[in-house]
């Protein structure tokens, strides 16, 4: 198992390096002088330009520039924002936490909704409840998340006024920030008003975000449960007269590994779908930050944002794989390769 884990870790490091190369080269694809692109200096003379260039190492070979970029990035230095004139890392921190809060809420929601429905569908395999579930799943992953978000705003916010149309918390809630996750902050400071406001803001974006992942979760879990139910050990358990709850617990345990993998893969689209959703709900996360930076041509922020988002995706995949290895005794004992 240790070997598998180490291999996986090494692979992650390689992928992270590759991600950094892509992100570094990406911004070099922009036509124009890097001085203008990175420093946003409006009017500079040729001497100033040359000075800036050597000051920031833009006159050195590209491989040296990459080395410098990587060395700085590892230390958390991602350059300065052109429009806001603060270090990029200062902008990324709170935005990252906002995205994390949304993604956690979305994931929890998918599990809470998806697992019972998948169980129900698998129990009623081939009958109406099952067919309705499959149709729902198909609808779920065909739904453009941003449209779902807008439709919920239209009906539930604009017309019924049940939820705010966007943002993360009411300004008047007076929340003290500690962790950056507003729900957690509200709970530890005992600010019930802020908790209510934060949750109210969280409802619509997390439902929209959860739609697609719930659909895949339902499909995969249902599929594995059905195939497991045809395996011999289930018949054996049944023959021993085990009750339904115990039986389903055994089956869920076996269906967990593939489901975790799919949820891990889906996490990427969750983060991705989040980019567009954050724009819809004015949710001040990484996605909104990146899109705003693209519009303002603030490339250091775009670069930093893409890097952080891709890196967190890679790390989440690692965590998911580790969970998978721990959950599946066959891999744990090194019997089955991947």
């Amino acid at each position: 198992m240790l070997q598998t884990l180490l291999d996986r870790l090494l692979q992650t490091v390689v992928v992270l390096l590759f991600v950094s190369v892509i992100v570094f080269l990406l911004v070099r694809l922009i036509p124009g002088d890097p001085v203008d692109i990175f420093l946003g200096e409006a009017t500079v003379s040729d001497e100033q330009r040359a000075m800036l260039r050597s000051e920031h190492g833009l006159d050195r070979p590209i491989i040296v520039q990459y080395g410098a970029f990587l060395a700085k990035a590892v230390q958390g230095d991602l350059g300065r924002s052109i429009t806001q004139r603060v270090p990029v890392a200062e902008l990324l921190g709170p935005a990252f936490l906002a995205t994390i809060e949304l993604v956690i809420a979305g994931t929890l929601l998918s599990v809470v909704v998806g697992v019972p429905i998948a169980l129900l569908a698998a129990m009623r395999h081939g009958r109406t409840a099952d067919q309705v579930t499959s149709a729902l799943a198909l609808f779920g992953y065909s739904m453009p998340t941003f449209w779902l978000g807008i439709m919920m705003i239209l009906v539930l916010s604009v017309h019924l006024g049940w939820f705010p149309t966007g943002g993360r918390i009411a300004m008047s809630a007076g929340l003290e920030r500690h962790t950056g996750l507003f729900v957690v902050d509200a709970i530890i400071t005992g600010n019930m008003r802020a908790l209510g406001s934060a949750l109210q803001h969280l409802v619509l974006p997390s439902i929209a975000l959860a739609a697609v992942s719930t659909a895949s979760l339902m499909q995969v879990l249902r599929g594995s449960l059905i195939s497991i139910s045809q395996e011999e050990f289930v018949s054996a358990l049944r023959a021993r007269g085990l009750g339904r709850p115990t039986l389903w617990r055994h089956m869920l345990r076996n269906a967990a590994p593939p489901t975790v993998i799919i949820m891990g893969v889906r996490f990427g689209s969750l983060i991705g779908g989040g980019i567009v959703l954050e724009t819809v709900f004015s949710w001040p996360g990484l996605g909104l930050l990146i899109i705003d930076a693209i519009r303002a041509r603030d490339y250091p922020v775009v670069q930093g944002g893409v890097l952080v988002m891709a890196a967190s995706f890679v790390i989440v995949s690692l965590v998911v794989d580790v969970i998978h290895i721990l959950l599946d005794p066959r891999i744990r004992q090194g019997e089955a390769g991947r």
Partner: protein
């Protein structure tokens, strides 16, 4: 997943297939089908609700006919989906075929790169590329190809690995058929069914992604009506004109749904085992 999949009653599949074909036909014939000029403004007829006389789906804030814009808007997703998916298939299949067939170190390096590429969230890569290349039809297509090709490399390479040890390939080798001919004439046809299935399902993803890009203002230029851009414009008028954001979004949803229904059906028909896992990535 070996479980039997739920397959939709054929009526739904037929309907979905009809819808896909209609989308294709409308996309091709858009300039002739639109009842009015999609860009003609009429300030007297601003924000007319659907079912207004002369404007079946109403008008937008500049008095432009929503139905005509919707029809004109089929063209971009159709062109983008066709071009992006076929180019991705072309590149992905070629690389995967090469990598799997040659094997060894080359294969290891290519697969490591592919895995790393797939480590990026798909839409993030597309957004990042359009951001640096700038909006426009070609750039959107490039961005989508860049973020998609790797899916096919994975799929094809895995199949080639097992196929190249099969008897029909080995016997072709023995009678002296060249490597290129074996790869193209013997192995390629065997992998095409699963590539077709994945490509069909990817069409849905590409259409949805194009709409997202247009919605974010990173799509094809503003002069060309697209569903995503219409949605973005309509967002500002949610309180006064519900149809502006509702209708184009519903169009995206229906097309993607129809493509997925057809794709799922093809998958269940051709091979219930092989395709399922690959498309989830």
């Amino acid at each position: 997943m070996t479980a039997r999949r739920f397959s939709l009653p054929p009526l739904y599949v037929t309907l979905a297939l009809g819808f896909c074909l209609a989308f294709l036909v409308v996309g091709i014939l858009a300039p002739w089908l639109a009842p009015l000029d999609p860009n003609a403004q009429s300030l007297l007829n601003r924000l007319r609700p659907p079912l207004t006389e002369g404007h079946l789906l109403g008008t937008d804030v500049l008095g432009r006919d929503v139905l005509s814009r919707l029809i004109a808007g089929t063209r971009v997703p159709m062109v983008v989906a066709t071009a992006a998916v076929s180019l991705s298939v072309l590149i992905g299949v070629a690389v995967g075929l090469f990598s799997g067939y040659v094997g060894g170190l080359v294969d290891t390096v290519i697969m490591r790169l592919t895995d790393a590429w797939l480590a990026f969230p798909f839409i993030l890569l597309a957004i990042a590329f359009v951001a640096v290349l700038g909006p426009g039809l070609t750039n959107v297509i490039i961005a989508l190809v860049v973020s998609q090709w790797a899916v096919y490399v994975r799929l094809v390479r895995g199949q080639v690995l097992s196929l190249k040890e099969r008897e029909f390939v080995l016997s072709a080798r023995m009678i002296g058929v060249s490597h290129l001919r074996i790869a193209v004439q013997h192995i390629l046809p065997a992998i095409m069914p699963s590539v077709t299935i994945v490509a069909t399902l990817e069409i849905g993803i590409v259409i949805a992604t194009e709409a997202s890009l247009s919605f974010l203002g990173l799509g094809v230029s503003a002069s060309q009506p697209t569903w995503g851009a219409m949605l973005a414009e309509g967002r500002a008028y949610l309180a006064s004109a519900w149809w502006l954001a509702t209708i184009p979004g519903a169009a995206v949803f229906l097309v993607v749904l129809a493509v997925n229904v057809v794709g799922n059906h093809i998958r269940d028909m051709v091979d219930p085992r092989s395709a399922g896992a690959a498309t989830k990535a």
